[in-house]
């Protein structure tokens, strides 16, 4: 299996957003000028960077109380504007813990789990899609049948059975989200490979004696990158929602650690005299998912491939 060097440079993008180094400068300035025209893109990037920053530097933020510090006399203090004071801007929960501090603390788990899950799904799914699309034949049939079965057996059901069998854990949630998302990358990747397979640059490198592996990794993969990044962003929105649902059902992190979904689960018994717990935790999820969705809307308009947009927006399953 010695890879024959075909003497051709790694392929350049055929769809304008290629990964070749010489084009990078123009691509970046294209992206920037396109961004200036898109309010959705600006809002999406702003929201995503803000949440990412908060999740990363959260524990070192000044003026924030300890998220796990209980203070029963202060329990269920309303937020500022509803009779609360500025020591707890978003109020406190049933144990007197500061909601804002807990939201910032919860951002880490919620976002980390989703990002890791999407990365796993993207790597696994893309690799399978490349192989299915390029090698074809029985392997293709096998992989695409597996993807079809996965479509009919979405994440939450797999989550139910796995949690029942192995008990709740963060890793389990990551795995469940990854297995409910890989086939999206496989299907899109395979579809793109089908259209690229007959391109001249692929045929040229095949004729020059390049191994399948080299064609897939050096020539096909770079052409998939921009579409797959767009797809990853969209899948990230779904992953954050899934993570929150699993945490809400008690499948993920366990107390005393915190995540947004778990805050809603714990605050739901206090919706009559502490509506702010559930409201703000859900608002955090909704805003970050909205940010990711706006970002993906912008990336899709930049890629501007109508059929791909349809695959992305109208895929079945949760």
């Amino acid at each position: 299996m010695t890879a024959v060097d075909d003497g051709l440079p790694p392929s350049e993008g055929t769809n304008g957003a290629g990964a070749a180094s010489g084009e990078n400068a123009t691509v970046m300035s294209d992206l920037r000028s396109h961004l200036r025209k898109s309010k959705a893109g600006i809002a999406g990037i702003a929201i995503c960077s803000l949440f990412a920053l908060v999740a990363i530097i959260g524990p070192w933020l000044p003026f924030l109380p300890d998220p796990s510090k209980q203070s029963l006399p202060d329990k269920l203090t309303p937020p500022v504007g509803w009779g609360g004071a500025w020591d707890h801007p978003l109020g406190t929960d049933q144990l007197g813990r500061d909601i804002l501090a807990r939201l910032i603390d919860g951002a880490r788990i919620s976002l980390l789990v989703s990002v890791v899950a999407v990365i796993i799904a993207a790597i696994l799914g893309t690799a399978l899609g490349l192989v299915a699309g390029y090698i074809g034949g029985r392997i293709d049939t096998l992989i695409i049948s597996a993807a079809d079965v996965q479509m009919a057996f979405p994440g939450v059901l797999a989550g139910l059975i796995l949690v029942a069998a192995f008990g709740p854990s963060v890793w389990l949630v990551i795995i469940v989200i990854a297995i409910s998302s890989w086939m999206v990358f496989t299907r899109v990747g395979r579809g793109l490979v089908f259209t690229l397979k007959s391109s001249l640059f692929v045929e040229a490198s095949e004729l020059a004696g390049a191994s399948s592996r080299r064609v897939m990794w050096r020539h096909l993969l770079p052409n998939l990158v921009s579409s797959l990044i767009t797809l990853s962003v969209l899948e990230l929105a779904a992953a954050i929602l899934s993570e929150s649902a699993f945490a809400f059902l008690g499948f993920g992190v366990q107390p005393p650690r915190s995540s947004w979904g778990l805050m809603i689960q714990q605050g739901r018994n206090y919706i009559t005299d502490g509506w702010w717990i559930v409201t703000f935790a859900g608002l955090a999820i909704a805003i970050v998912v909205l940010g990711v969705n706006l970002l993906s809307l912008w990336l899709q308009s930049f890629n501007d491939i109508a059929e791909r947009e349809q695959i992305i927006l109208e895929r079945p399953g949760g």
Binding site: V156, A165, A237, A245, I285, L290, G317
Partner: protein, 314 residues
């Protein structure tokens, strides 16, 4: 000609049904592998301090001290006659427990589908009618917010506003039609948001086609053309998408929403079964829900074929 066409249709239908049955078989086999090969239902269902003797007794009671092949054969032959094992927690056949809860879940999904369709079709048409104007942007805003907010959170917000503050509807439980309203909206809003955008895009594309341009130039109003000409051509996509939203509902939304509203459906039963370490019952609930997904996909294919005969018999 007509006869060959009819038999081609039947062959297509038969192939689709066989494929659906195969998917159900593969999915249930995967469930079997997880529950029987990777774990030991006896250990899962007993407290940690149980003795080895207890476990052996439980294994014998569950029939899992026999070879895997025998167990698998039992499992598959049970499936065929609708036997999904005994629930340890409730001491009753698992299939009976799940089927008792099924009507509540189906009612919820029906309500949510109604909300989805009744919101999505008019909103989509409205956005297409006023393309790139205020109404279009407003509908896009609604869609973005509704698909970004977690459904269970929407559920709690609806409870806080309409049940706690205004007192118009009961907070939870299933007492008649009124209690169905809030959970249906909690599930249906996200689906409506996605479907409205799809409808809008479909109609906008259709409006650029010659037949629609002709209709408009003959003096038909934009609204008349949208409702009577273009929407028909979007209908097949609309039905497909609605079907996909149904599968999302069966497998995700209903589980969390049933927990939020204390709705006595299959999803909440599964969560309770997990809390009570009843692997057999979880397995039964998952098999039933997965079957519903496959059946829904099959019905969508058939419906699409009936609406638009141009759909290829693949």
């Amino acid at each position: 000609m007509a006869r060959t066409k009819g038999s081609a249709l039947l062959r297509w239908l038969a192939r689709r049904i066989i494929a659906a049955a195969l998917v159900v078989f593969v999915v249930t086999s995967l469930v079997f592998v997880v529950t029987h090969v990777f774990t030991d239902p006896a250990t899962v269902s007993l407290p940690l301090e149980a003795t080895e003797e207890h476990r052996a007794q439980r294994r014998a009671a569950l029939g899992i001290d026999r070879p895997l092949s025998v167990q698998y054969w039992d499992f598959v032959s049970g499936l065929v006659v609708g036997d999904l094992g005994e629930s340890f927690w409730q001491d009753q056949p698992a299939s009976k427990l799940v089927l008792e809860r099924l009507p509540a879940t189906l009612k919820l999904v029906a309500g949510a589908t109604l909300v989805t369709v009744l919101l999505a079709a008019p909103l989509g048409m409205l956005a297409a009618w006023w393309e790139r104007r205020f109404a279009d942007h407003a509908v896009l805003g609604f869609s973005m917010v509704s698909i970004s907010a977690p459904p269970f959170w929407i559920g709690y917000l609806l409870i806080i506003v309409f049940a706690v503050q205004l007192g118009w509807v009961p907070t939870f439980g299933s007492s008649g039609f009124v209690s169905l309203i809030l959970p249906s909206f909690a599930i249906g809003l996200a689906s409506a948001g996605r479907l409205a955008q799809m409808t809008r895009r479909g109609i906008v594309e259709e409006l650029r086609k010659p037949y629609a341009v002709t209709a408009l130039s003959r003096g038909f109003s934009r609204s008349y053309t949208i409702v009577n000409h273009t929407f028909r051509n979007v209908a097949s996509g609309f039905v497909t998408m609605t079907g996909w939203e149904l599968t999302r509902m069966f497998t995700g939304y209903t589980v969390v929403i049933e927990v939020v509203f204390a709705w006595p459906g299959v999803g909440r039963l599964a969560i309770h079964a997990i809390e009570n370490r009843d692997l057999v019952l979880v397995q039964a609930a998952v098999v039933v829900l997965a079957t519903l997904v496959v059946v829904t996909n099959l019905l969508v294919d058939i419906a699409r074929r009936m609406i638009d005969p141009r759909v290829e018999l693949g």
